[in-house]
């Protein structure tokens, strides 16, 4: 049997045997790097950021709600175009399916969609100090156990911001997460 097929057969039973919906609650936090291409990159230099999220088993796969924050500094190499710095706050919901690999490693592929809110550092009228737009894309996430209930997580995300001129961002995140049993009152609420 080819090694890939063997790996698949090992993974499938673990992948389908997920906890009941909302049974556990994983809370995570991490650092984030943002990468972009021109023309966006010609005007702004994305700086380091942070991301926090909660993840729960859903009816199929897992759902994740999260928010990330990243500072974007204006590039001074464009002297004729004085653009303001801005903070990008990305509030998103995601869904994914995962497989369990040996040694407690988990790998998941998912979708996410949310609102990217850009808050500009400018004295312009209030109405144009922020812009919000739909941003959606794909996640590839991996995690491994650190200690009881704790995991080391890493993810790569490709997100498209649906502005008139589309902006494609790549987000790389590394962090830790802690898994809890969901409180009964919260399970009742969610179900």
């Amino acid at each position: 049997m080819p090694p890939r097929a063997l790996l698949f057969l090992l993974c499938v039973p673990v992948a389908v045997a997920q906890p009941a919906a909302f049974e556990t609650l994983e809370v995570g936090v991490g650092g984030m790097g943002t990468f972009a291409d021109a023309p966006f990159r010609n005007f702004w230099d994305p700086g380091p950021g942070a991301e926090a999220w909660v993840e729960m088993p859903f009816y199929l796969g897992q759902i994740r709600l999260g928010e990330s924050v990243a500072w974007h500094e204006a590039v001074e190499a464009e002297p004729d175009t004085a653009v303001p710095d801005f903070v990008a706050v990305y509030t998103f919901a995601g869904w994914g399916v995962g497989v369990a690999l040996p040694a407690g490693v988990r790998l998941a592929l998912g979708l996410r969609a949310g609102i990217l809110n850009m808050r500009f550092d400018t004295d312009a009228p209030v109405a144009v100090r922020s812009e919000a737009e739909l941003a959606a894309g794909f996640d590839l996430r991996a995690s491994m156990p650190l200690a009881a209930g704790w995991r080391l997580t890493a993810s790569g995300t490709a997100v498209r911001v649906f502005t008139a001129e589309r902006i494609d961002l790549r987000l790389v995140q590394v962090g830790v997460s802690r898994t809890f049993g969901t409180p009964e009152w919260l399970k009742e609420f969610l179900r």
Binding site: M118, F120, E131, F162, T163, A164, F189
Partner: protein
């Protein structure tokens, strides 16, 4: 005499009129569960669920529809009912569902008749859309929600890069709606409202509208309603107050562009039914409605479209049952007065004879309407159950008076002159009675247990039809251009339609594949020209899956064929290439998800429209709606 006839019927009555008949394939029912699963955002979104309807919009806020096969931008001749009462919010043949004081979350079900028939005491030659709101029950209940939506394509950070700057595009909401009801003993009460906002900033219309308003075109709409019901004297009686007001950019086709207007309408109604014998009852209806149109204060278009009508309706009917037979006889008088134009009084006498058995049902609807002229109409419907199949047929021969269509040219001929001298009307002869014949055949049944199919074919012939046409569409950006409206009061033509639905349904999921086609099949030049603007084909598929009763995902893929507006050909390429007489064919993919929380007290839904980001445009100078999303949160107590 009517009471004597009822008493006679009652005396002959035998029991058993409640046996279920085969379902009527010409009647479509949209349930609350279907509305929720589709993630519908506003009331006009219902049109997307109607079998075979053609819809159009200029701004993405006000949608128009045709139910029987026709140009959605012509007069909408279908009848709107809200909880058994006619809604009188129409204006010059436009039925603006947004103005109706029913939020999409307040709809319990929608009943749609795609054939002419007798409803609420009068004949409805153009079909019926009946909105049933949640009925008040014993005790107290309340529901409220808010919703927002946004079209993608904003400038984002490039707002600050001059060579890459673009304007913000349409934003929907925040919308609010609430409903409270109370029931105790024999009394029930319900109060509700909706508040809508819409920023009409689509590129195609932004310049002309912001120039007229001197600001960002933000539309606002408020629509409240109150309903009181009582069980008394052996029957049920209802008092209702409906209303709506808006600051709107009203697209007036003869003028060729939007006009900033303030609209206000209100309606008070009383209707009920009293038993007069064990199998006979007497129904009554009274309604007073007022409709006003004024210029939006501060708008700089230099046009005052002032218009005001008052409608009084009074009707009485008796109905009785005798075994499998039912009979109904009634009459209604409607008086419409208008400020600055000559009003009219219309009287109608109608009757219905029906027979229902467990395997078949037939009805014959007859009506005679009198105003300036006389119009006679008849509709015969029959359906039979044959094993797992139901076969149905409807034949209708209906005349329609000009007073029943509420066209601009009708009121213009009666003295409405607010558009002088902006719109010149050329009309060789006065509008008369329109005669329409319709034959529709239906078949519905099960193929194998989870699979069912519905199919219909119809042919519709019209004579003496009034068509308001324009040889050359007016340039919306050039106000000084004279507008010419040519009224052809004797147009004729024929339309053929066909439709097929294949459904699959099992616990936890359902799917549907559908197709409907319609086209002009002969007729005068004006008729065929008008029909070029109507897409011939609509086809698609939809599917929904549920996890228990708390989570549903659904998706719908629709293809609409291309159309062309010949009168707009000279404007093609105008406004920076945004105007185009050709309406492109389009594939639309919508997807939605809904999640109930807190034992179904709290609901959140998310809807994506036009995920393929195609050019969703339905009018030559109208908006092209891109990928957009809508989020709704609703609380039920």
């Amino acid at each position: 005499m009517m009471l004597a006839a009822l008493a006679l019927l009652a005396s002959l009555a035998a029991a058993d009129t409640t046996r279920p008949a085969p379902p009527d394939p010409a009647r479509q029912v949209i349930t609350r569960a279907e509305i929720e699963a589709a993630g519908l955002y506003r009331l006009p979104d219902l049109y997307r669920l109607l079998d075979g309807a053609r819809t159009s919009t200029v701004d993405g806020f006000t949608w128009r529809a045709d139910l029987l096969g026709g140009d959605p931008f012509a007069a909408e001749t279908w009848t709107l009912l809200v909880d058994g009462e006619r809604g009188e919010a129409g204006l010059f043949g436009e039925q603006n569902l947004s103005l109706v004081p029913v939020a999409i979350t307040q709809v319990d079900s929608v009943e749609v008749w795609m054939v002419p028939r007798l409803v609420a005491g009068t004949f409805a030659p153009g079909g019926v859309l009946h909105l049933h709101t949640s009925r008040p029950r014993s005790g107290m209940a309340a529901r409220g929600g808010l919703a927002i939506g946004n079209e993608t394509g904003d400038p984002g950070p490039f707002r600050y890069v001059p060579e890459r700057f673009t304007r913000n595009v349409d934003k929907f909401g925040t919308d609010y709606d609430a409903l409270a009801s109370f029931g105790a003993g024999r009394w029930r009460a319900q109060a509700r409202f909706k508040l809508l906002r819409f920023y009409a900033t689509d590129f195609a219309a932004f310049d002309r509208n912001s120039e007229a308003l001197g600001a960002n075109p933000a539309l606002r709409l408020f629509a409240p309603a109150l309903r009181l019901e009582a069980d008394a004297l052996g029957g049920t009686h209802a008092v209702s107050l409906l209303g709506g007001g808006s600051h709107d950019l009203w697209f007036f086709q003869p003028f060729g562009r939007e006009i900033p207007v303030r609209r206000l309408w209100g309606q008070a109604g009383l209707h009920g039914r009293l038993p007069v014998a064990p199998q006979a009852s007497l129904g009554y209806r009274l309604a007073l409605a007022e409709n006003r149109l004024d210029a939006w204060e501060g708008a700089a278009l230099g046009l005052d479209p002032r218009w005001q009508t008052r409608t009084v309706r009074a009707g009485l009917d008796g109905q009785g049952a005798l075994g499998a037979w039912t009979a109904r006889l009634g009459g209604e008088v409607r008086h419409v007065s208008a400020a600055g134009a000559e009003g009219f009084t219309l009287g109608e006498v109608s009757g219905q004879l029906g027979r229902t058995t467990p395997r078949s049902a037939q009805h014959l609807d007859l009506s005679l309407a009198v105003a300036g002229e006389v119009a006679a109409r008849a509709a015969l419907g029959s359906r039979h159950a044959l094993g797992a199949w139901t076969l149905g047929a409807t034949a209708a021969l209906a005349q329609r008076l000009p007073e029943e269509t509420d066209r601009f040219s009708f009121w213009r001929a009666r003295g409405y002159d607010a558009f002088e001298p902006f719109v010149a009307v050329e009309q060789a002869e006065a509008a008369g009675v329109t005669t329409e014949a319709l034959l529709r055949l239906d078949a519905a049944g099960r193929l194998t247990p989870p699979l069912s199919v519905e199919a219909s074919a119809a042919v519709r012939t019209l004579h003496g039809l009034t068509l308001e046409t324009q040889p050359a569409a007016p340039d919306p950006d050039a106000l000084e251009t004279p507008r010419l409206l040519v009224v052809d009061a004797d147009a004729e033509g024929q339309v053929v339609r066909g439709r097929v639905n294949v459904r699959w349904a099992q616990a936890g999921g359902r799917a549907r594949v559908f197709y409907d086609g319609q086209a002009a099949a002969g007729g005068g030049a004006a008729f065929e020209r008008a029909w070029e603007a109507v897409p011939r084909h609509r086809a698609g598929a939809e599917a929904a899956v549920s996890a228990g009763d708390s989570f549903t995902l659904s998706a719908m893929l629709t293809h609409r064929s291309a159309a062309r507006w010949p009168a707009y050909a000279p404007l093609s390429g105008g406004n920076g290439g945004l105007y185009d007489a050709r309406i492109p064919a389009v594939w639309l993919l919508d997807a939605s998800g809904e999640k109930w929380l807190w034992q179904r007290r709290l609901r959140a839904s998310l809807l994506f429209r036009n995920l393929l980001n195609q050019e969703e445009r339905t009018h030559p100078v109208g908006a092209a709606l891109d990928l957009r999303f809508y989020l709704r949160v609703e609380l039920n107590l």
